[in-house]
Every structure is written in structure tokens, then in C-alpha cells.
């Protein structure tokens, strides 16, 4: 396959490219997904600390 003698190594070649594509697709799909901001988390942690 693709000039590579063994199926195992052709698979390794394809999976390497596939893993790279997975990273790209994930990055694009979640491009603007922020989750909680660190600053907000820190402020929340400090507020809880003051209460305690």
C-alpha cells in the first residue's frame, strides 16, 4: 500500500497523518470554546478563600 511493503507500517503512516488531521479538526471545531477563564477561576477561588 502506497509503496510500503507491510500493512502494519502503511497503517502507521496513515494513522500518523490521521492523528494530525484529528488534531486540526478538533482545533477547528472547538476553536472558540473557552470554558471558564483562568482569571474567573482565580477570582472564584480567592472569594471562596475569603469566605472560609
Amino acid at each position: 500500500m502506497f509503496g510500503i511493503a507491510s500493512t502494519e507500517l502503511a497503517l502507521a503512516y496513515l494513522l500518523s497523518i490521521g492523528a494530525g488531521l484529528l488534531c486540526v479538526i478538533y482545533g477547528i471545531v472547538k476553536y472558540n470554546d473557552t470554558g471558564p477563564m483562568t482569571e474567573e477561576l482565580r477570582e472564584a477561588a480567592e472569594r471562596e478563600g475569603e469566605k472560609a
Partner: protein
């Protein structure tokens, strides 16, 4: 030569300028340790990738790919899938959120606060501070030899110059300087590796044609005659064929290189701490994209080009018009570490050779700076301030002095250790980190049932088992370190078995195949029988996870 020196000066000037920018922006401890937790995703992912990939990954492993061929592509897959995707998406986000919840500034501090154990933080810090310089020295030795060969600088002077330049910006500018310079160095590495792979495939007529020529070359007795019977090729069937299952080479490639390095990267303290430098998950999501492409162009290109260089050495005229007619091992003067440099020198124009050299400086420098920084903060923050409970009034100064101590220790190791130790020292550190840190790190982020005693037992057990196996049973590491030889008179306790027996082959099995599962089992068994954390602590750790 003068052109190389001019470009090297320009490169070092840019690095020093970026280091200066980092120093100007470093005002408080969190700037020094975590770059103010406001790093841009591109900078973060390039810094992660360039710290991950050192010169030995490109030159050393690229040379190994020239010997063994495409089996190393499994490491590329592991690097991208586990080293980037799983690391960022599964562990990166949890590390950032739990790190914020616990106000952790370093990797050992995250573990220490998660497990409510100053001992655990101090022990983890001590392991990093004591063993990271050995790994850093391996990188330093490699790049100093490059400076010696390419710029004619004596080895000892090269070690000093390279250490001094890197140390100046790490000690003064902390994480900001490290990450700014890493990003620049990562960009340089990326461009050079992209040209490297494009040119190689172009010469060989495209993807399938290049691979087919490599496959055919293994069937050509004129090509394989020179390497036939070489001890490193027992179990080898061709550059595009898998290795024979269970042979020593199969064990080295699949257990040490693919599994050991591929999985071990998840527990590298200098990498994990970068997840705490960003301000939201968005940076990590975008970082996955940049990091995935970057890693594909680093290890993927090095391994593919390394293997294909056999065809080029055999068939393609070099820059003087001469066809070598031999495989890469002969082209590299029968030294794996010289194959990639010989390939660049003999087949690429001089300007590319200059920039390739700078890219190798960049790869070494970006890895070294992360190592110096992690070792320094481990000593200053985790061992001295938290582990020993020292009263610290100026955190920045303490960490800068600690970084200087780490730098001096690494430099001393580079003067003392032999050149042949590079790959072994890297494998040693990766192995030790995997067994010692990975189980407590993963369980701490994902399992509320793990206990303080379970975490400590796992860390100590993983370290002890890994250390024992590396020192006494794993010949590739125990032989050069010499402790087994001095105590028992043999390079390893398995070395006396007859070749071909299971006992003989087991000395090539990576210690982490045993040590890491043992550390996981210890954590689980001990946690089942010891006191759980209070709900209040668990709520604190998990409060930002949802």
C-alpha cells in the same frame, strides 16, 4: 564558515532579544513560573512542541529510522495522538482547571496540593531537580558536538557558550522568556523540516514512488550487503517492513522508543506545566491544532526522511555529482548520529545546511530552556520553599538562584558524562518520569478515590521499581551507568543469558512495561485500604472541572 557564523550570531541575537522581552514582562512569581497564565495558544503549543522535540529526536531518531525504517512511524502516531491530542484534550484541560483551583505554580505543586502532601511535592521536586540535569546534559552534549563540528568551536567552550546564552534568559526572564524563544525556535524548526521533506519526496518522484524505491532497495543485495549481519539489524526485514516480533530490536523499537517515549511524554514535568500557562480552554483547543501539525512535521518528517535517505544515498548524485551507491549507514560513516548531518551536507545546498544547523540549535535550546526552568522551579519552589518549609521573602530571587544551580549542575554533567550517554540519559529520564509521575498525575486528575497514602506509595513504588530495573536489568541503560557492574561484576543481571533465550531478550524490554503498571496497581490497592480524602478537599479540587 563565515556565513554560518553570521547567521548563528543573528539567531542568537533574536533569541536574546526575545529573552529580554520576557525579562521585562516578568514582575511576579506567577510570571516567572507560569508566564502570568496569559499565554497565546500559538506560543503555548509551539513552546510545548519545541520543548518536546530536541536535537536528538531529529538527528538521533532520524538516524535510527535510516537503520530500521518505517517502524518508527508508530512513535510519530503516539507523539501526535497521545503527546498532543490526549495530553491537551484529556489532561491539559484538567491540569489547567485543577491547577487554578489549587493555585499550583509547578507540576510537583499540583501533585502536592491534589494529594495534600508536602512530602509528595518535595519528593517530586527532588526527582526533577536531581535527574533533569542528566537529561539536560544529554541535550547539551549533542548540541555542543554540533557546534564543535560545524563552527570549529572547542567542545568545552561550546558547552559553556550554549549553556550561558540559554541560562541568561531562563534565569532572568523565567517562563515568559522560555516560551517566547521556544515559539521562535519552533517556527524555524517547522520551516526547515517542511523544506527537508518536500525536497526528499521531490527527488524520489512523490510519495508512492519514494516508498516503493525504499521497499525495492531492501531486496537489492548490492544495497544490503554492507549492513547484513549488523547487530542492530537482527530481526530487520526491510525499511518498509515491521521488525521480527520478540527480537531484541523489536523490543527496543516498540517498548522503549514507541511505548516508552510515546507514553512517557505525558508525565514530563516541563511539558505538563505549560497547560497552566493559558487563560482558558480555547488556547488548549487551538493549541491541539498547531501542536498536531508541528509534531507531524518534526518526528514524522525526521523518520520518513531518515528512512528515505537510504534511497537517496544509493541512487541520487550528491552536490558534487557523485553517486555514493551505498545505504545511509555507510553514508553516515557507520555512525547513526552522523546519518542526518551527512545527508544534509552531501545533498542539500549550503544555505540549507546553515539553516538546518540553526534549526538544530533551536531544537536543543528550546528543550534545554524548559529543562532548566523546570529543574530550577522544582528546587526553588518545591524542594526549598514547600518541601523544606523555608521562609521565602523574595520568591523571584530564590527561583532565579535555583535555576542557576540547575544550570551549573547540567553543565557539570555535560563535562563528565560520555558522548554515548545521550540516548541512554534521555531514555533514563523518560522512564523514571513515567513510572514515578504518570500514575499519580493521571489518577489525581481523574479519580476521586485515590488517597494520599495511595499517591505517595505509587510514586515511591514506581520510582523504586523503575530505578531498580534501569540500574540492574535493562542493559542498554545499566551498562553505561555502571552501577550493576561495580556491585555484581556484570553489565546487567540478565546479560549472562545466552542470546536468543527469553532471559536474554528481557534485558531489552523497557522497564516501564513493568514499572508503570506496578505503580498504577500500587495506587489502586493502597487507596482501597487507606483513608479517603474529605469531601471538602475533593470539592475544592474538582470545583472547576464541570
Amino acid at each position: 564558515m563565515s556565513e554560518k557564523i553570521i547567521w548563528a550570531v543573528v539567531y542568537f541575537a533574536i533569541v536574546i532579544y526575545l529573552g529580554y522581552r520576557g525579562w521585562k514582562e516578568t514582575k511576579v512569581a506567577s510570571d516567572y513560573m507560569l508566564a502570568g497564565r496569559q499565554v497565546h495558544p500559538f506560543i503555548m503549543s509551539m513552546s510545548y512542541g519545541s520543548t518536546f522535540i530536541s536535537t536528538s529526536a531529529i538527528i538521533g531518531f532520524g538516524g535510527a529510522a535510516a537503520m530500521w525504517g518505517f517502524p518508527l512511524l508508530w512513535l510519530t502516531f503516539f507523539n501526535i495522538f497521545f503527546g498532543i491530542f490526549v495530553a491537551f484534550v484529556v489532561f491539559g484541560k484538567r491540569t489547567r482547571r485543577m491547577g487554578s483551583a489549587l493555585d499550583a505554580h509547578t507540576f510537583p505543586e499540583l501533585l502536592g496540593r491534589r494529594y495534600e502532601s508536602r512530602f509528595l511535592q518535595g519528593f517530586a521536586g527532588a526527582i526533577i531537580f536531581l535527574f533533569m540535569p542528566v537529561y539536560a546534559a544529554a541535550v547539551l552534549i549533542g548540541v555542543a558536538r554540533l557546534l564543535e563540528v560545524n563552527l570549529g568551536i572547542p567542545y568545552n567552550v561550546a558547552v559553556f557558550i550554549f549553556t550561558a546564552i540559554t541560562a541568561i534568559y531562563v534565569i532572568t526572564g523565567g517562563m515568559k522568556a522560555v516560551m517566547y524563544t521556544d515559539a521562535f525556535q519552533g517556527c524555524l524548526m517547522f520551516v526547515i523540516m517542511a523544506i527537508f521533506v518536500f525536497w526528499t519526496y521531490h527527488w524520489l518522484g512523490g510519495f508512492t514512488s519514494a516508498h516503493q524505491q525504499l521497499t525495492d532497495l531492501a531486496l537489492n543485495p548490492a544495497a544490503t550487503e554492507a549492513i547484513k549481519g549488523h547487530p542492530m539489524l537482527r530481526g530487520w526485514r526491510g525499511w518498509t517492513q515491521g521488525l521480527d516480533f520478540g527480537t531484541p530490536m523489536w523490543l527496543v523499537v516498540y517498548t522503549t522508543i514507541v511505548y516508552g517515549v510515546g507514553i512517557g511524554v505525558l508525565a514530563q514535568p516541563q511539558l505538563a506545566v505549560r497547560f497552566m500557562t493559558v487563560k482558558s480552554d480555547r488556547e488548549l483547543n487551538r493549541g491541539v491544532m498547531y501542536g498536531g501539525i508541528f509534531l507531524m512535521f518534526m518526528t514524522g518528517v525526521a523518520f520518513v526522511v531518515g528512512a528515505l535517505s537510504n534511497v537517496v544515498f544509493f541512487k541520487i548524485p550528491d552536490i558534487t555529482g557523485k553517486v555514493l551507491g551505498q545505504v545511509a549507514f555507510i553514508g553516515g560513516d557507520k555512525n547513526i548520529d552522523k546519518i542526518i548531518p551527512a545527508y544534509v551536507t552531501n545533498y542539500f545546498p549550503e544555505w540549507f545546511g546553515t539553516f538546518f544547523l540553526l534549526a538544530m540549535f533551536a531544537a536543543a535550546m528550546s528543550t534545554l530552556s524548559g529543562q532548566f526552568h523546570a529543574a530550577g522551579t522544582s528546587l526553588g519552589r518545591d524542594v526549598y520553599e514547600k518541601g523544606l518549609g523555608a521562609r521565602v521573602t523574595n520568591v523571584l530571587t530564590v527561583n532565579r538562584i535555583a535555576a542557576l544551580v540547575s544550570v551549573l549542575l547540567a553543565m557539570a554533567c555535560a563535562f563528565v558524562l560520555p558522548e554515548s550517554i545521550i540516548a541512554k540519559a534521555t531514555a533514563f529520564f523518560f522512564g523514571l518520569c513515567s513510572a514515578t509521575f504518570l500514575p499519580v498525575f493521571i489518577l489525581g486528575l481523574t479519580w476521586k478515590g485515590v488517597t494520599k497514602i495511595g499517591g505517595i506509595a505509587s510514586m515511591l513504588g514506581g520510582f523504586a521499581v523503575s530505578f531498580f530495573l534501569l540500574m540492574f536489568l535493562h542493559t542498554p541503560v545499566s551498562a553505561p551507568l555502571g552501577i550493576c557492574k561495580s556491585l555484581f561484576g556484570v553489565p546487567s543481571l540478565l546479560a549472562s543469558y545466552a542470546p536468543g533465550t527469553t532471559g536474554f531478550n528481557m534485558q531489552f524490554l523497557d522497564p516501564n512495561i513493568v514499572a508503570m503498571p506496578v505503580a498504577f496497581i500500587i495506587a489502586w490497592v493502597v487507596s482501597m485500604g487507606t483513608a479517603k480524602f474529605e469531601d471538602k478537599h475533593l470539592q475544592k479540587c474538582w470545583r472547576f472541572m464541570a
